[in-house]
């Protein structure tokens, strides 16, 4: 069942001179099995928003429904809710505390009061899902692993709760390129296997790799909710207006378009962009030898609802 957020606002320290509005009238839905990205510049309210989704912050005013349960209702069992919605915080490896990797991943299931067999089953499954070798790592101390491994152990600790929805706050921050690529692949695989994934990021390349749909948050307001292709191909000005931009690969397409090339902009990821450039090259210079460029199929049948009104004109690539 879906996550439904309706008219959610949040103010830190309400009623004091130091009151800080963090969210303003945010509404959206996330269906089961979706893979959604939540982007926005620093301080846009992303972390505040996701903490509402598993009841760490009570929605007030506004409502959050998860699987039909009202998160704001005092009678809702928040511990049960947190087993459904796994939340992985920024730099989750700093929350590791047990002596062995196994015990750390088992912390969640054990605190649920499961018996040892079930705990073992869940730990093994969660570690496998995160691409961790149970036999090699189970008895090691989490503090002697590499950064990327520790992060995956921490995420496994959340997956072991048996959640059907996984929210990750900046999961690739501080990882090296290989660690980042591995983690994104694992997340994409989790999503293909049925997990609802909400990826909080301000890295457009992460987004292009995992998410199918994007929510854009700026200064506490939801300013766009669109399929990722549509957002990148048609709403670049909106992104730039909020101190964001399209991924580097897509910026190349925009740069080509700016110089008069007839390339399509609704291509995401390095492979698709490369194919598109080749397609354009062959179309203009005549067929070269080699493979025929087969354009990837567009998946823009997803629900689209954007709040951007400006038509995006291609712009020159700005150096950062």
């Amino acid at each position: 069942m879906p996550i439904v957020v309706r008219h959610l606002s949040h103010v830190y320290m309400p009623g004091t001179p130091m009151a800080v509005p963090a969210l303003h009238d945010v509404s959206f839905e996330i269906a089961d099995g979706e893979s959604v990205g939540l982007i926005g510049p620093t301080g846009s309210g992303k972390s505040t928003l996701v903490q509402h989704l598993n009841g760490l912050i009570r929605p007030r005013p506004g409502t959050v429904f998860v699987d039909g349960q009202d998160v704001g209702d005092r009678r809702t069992d928040l511990r049960r809710l947190r087993r459904t919605v796994g939340l992985v915080f920024q730099y989750p490896e700093y929350q590791l505390f047990e002596e062995t990797v196994y015990d750390d991943v088992a912390f969640g299931p054990r605190s649920m009061g499961l018996d040892a067999d079930e705990v073992d089953r869940r730990v093994r499954r969660a570690m496998a899902l995160m691409g961790l070798d149970v036999e090699a790592l189970a008895k090691r101390s989490p503090f002697e692993l590499s950064g990327g491994q520790r992060r995956r152990v921490a995420i496994a600790g959340v997956l072991a709760l048996g959640c059907s929805k996984l929210i990750l706050d900046e999961p690739t921050a501080g990882l090296d390129p290989a660690g980042r690529r591995d983690l994104l692949r694992l997340l994409a695989r989790l999503n293909r296997e049925g997990m609802t994934v909400l990826l909080v990021t301000h890295d457009m390349d992460d987004l292009a790799e995992v998410a199918r749909r994007v929510l854009v948050l700026s200064e506490g307001r939801l300013v766009a909710d669109a399929p990722v292709r549509e957002l990148f191909s048609r709403h670049r000005a909106l992104l730039q207006g909020h101190r964001l931009d399209v991924p580097v690969a897509v910026r190349i397409l925009y740069a080509l378009r700016e110089r008069g090339a007839d390339v399509r902009l609704d291509r995401i990821g390095i492979d698709e962009v490369a194919e598109e450039i080749l397609r354009w090259w062959r179309a203009t210079r005549g067929p070269a030898d080699g493979r025929a460029a087969s354009g990837p199929t567009s998946t823009s049948q997803e629900r689209s609802r954007t709040h951007g009104h400006r038509r995006d004109r291609p712009r020159p690539v700005r150096p950062r």
Partner: protein, 264 residues
């Protein structure tokens, strides 16, 4: 917000006469005031004490509410000392019940002791309410400097104090974050027996210590990278300067204190 309150301690930011006094002056005044309150034994002496505190409140543009808040933790202490004094002082019996004897002298003494405690705490609060923790450590460092010759590590003590103060809000924030992260994976900090609750703190404390040590390492490295090697010959960003008002206040206070002492 809890974080803000802890970060600022008792300090109430302001721009009053008392706020602008040099922190060393204020430490001197409070020390003198405490000595005075231990010396005086008469009601009118305490009257002067009350007057000085009132003057301090006015000079610091503070509401008495702030000082009263500081008294809350010592209410029990005052009550106990009052009862002991009232019943265990020799003198004229006012009321007797078995071995318990309430004396007139005891009641007077209880009143004086209670008032003395209140005045001591109130006087000390005037210092902490109008001086930021950073100013306070600076002043302590300067006041301890003469004792370096006998081996008091003045600069190091002050540096430790300011680093500790600096990291209180950081660690509180970190604790909140870790607590939320552990709650997100099933930890419960607010239920169960006392033992269960104490055990529930392990997932909070271990990461907190790990990160505190990590931060300490990073800070030490950052300080070394900037060639920090202790207080020797070091200049400072915030210089303390005794102004005319500092000397005037100290002299005035000394005159009043000497007067009280002379009359005594």
């Amino acid at each position: 917000m809890a974080i803000g309150e802890i970060a600022l301690g008792q300090y109430v930011p302001g721009d009053s006469f008392l706020h602008r006094l040099d922190p060393r002056t204020k430490i001197g005044l409070v020390t003198g005031f405490i000595v005075l309150m231990f010396v005086v034994e008469t009601w009118w002496g305490y009257g002067v004490g009350v007057g000085l505190v009132a003057l301090g409140l006015a000079a610091g543009r503070l509401s008495p509410r702030w000082v009263l808040r500081g008294l809350r933790p010592i209410v029990m202490l005052i009550a106990i000392s009052a009862v002991l004094n009232a019943f265990w002082t020799e003198g004229r019996t006012l009321w007797q019940w078995g071995p318990l004897r309430l004396t007139a002298e005891g009641v007077e003494r209880a009143g004086m002791m209670g008032l003395r405690l209140v005045l001591l705490v109130a006087g000390a609060s005037l210092l902490t309410l109008t001086t930021s923790p950073i100013d306070l450590t600076d002043a302590i460092e300067r006041l301890l400097t003469p004792f370096r010759r006998i081996g008091v590590p003045a600069h190091e003590l002050a540096m430790m104090m300011s680093i500790a103060l600096r990291f209180v809000p950081t660690l509180v924030e970190e604790a909140e974050r870790i607590m939320k992260a552990q709650m997100a994976r099933g930890a419960a900090f607010d239920r169960g027996s006392l033992v269960a609750r104490a055990r529930a703190l392990v997932p909070l404390l271990v990461p907190l210590f790990v990160s505190a040590f990590r931060r300490a390492d990073e800070l030490a490295l950052a300080m070394e990278a900037r060639c920090y090697r202790g207080g020797e010959g070091r200049t400072r960003l915030r210089q303390l300067h005794m102004q005319r008002r500092d000397w005037a206040t100290l002299v005035t206070f000394a005159v009043v204190a000497a007067g009280v002492g002379a009359v005594l």
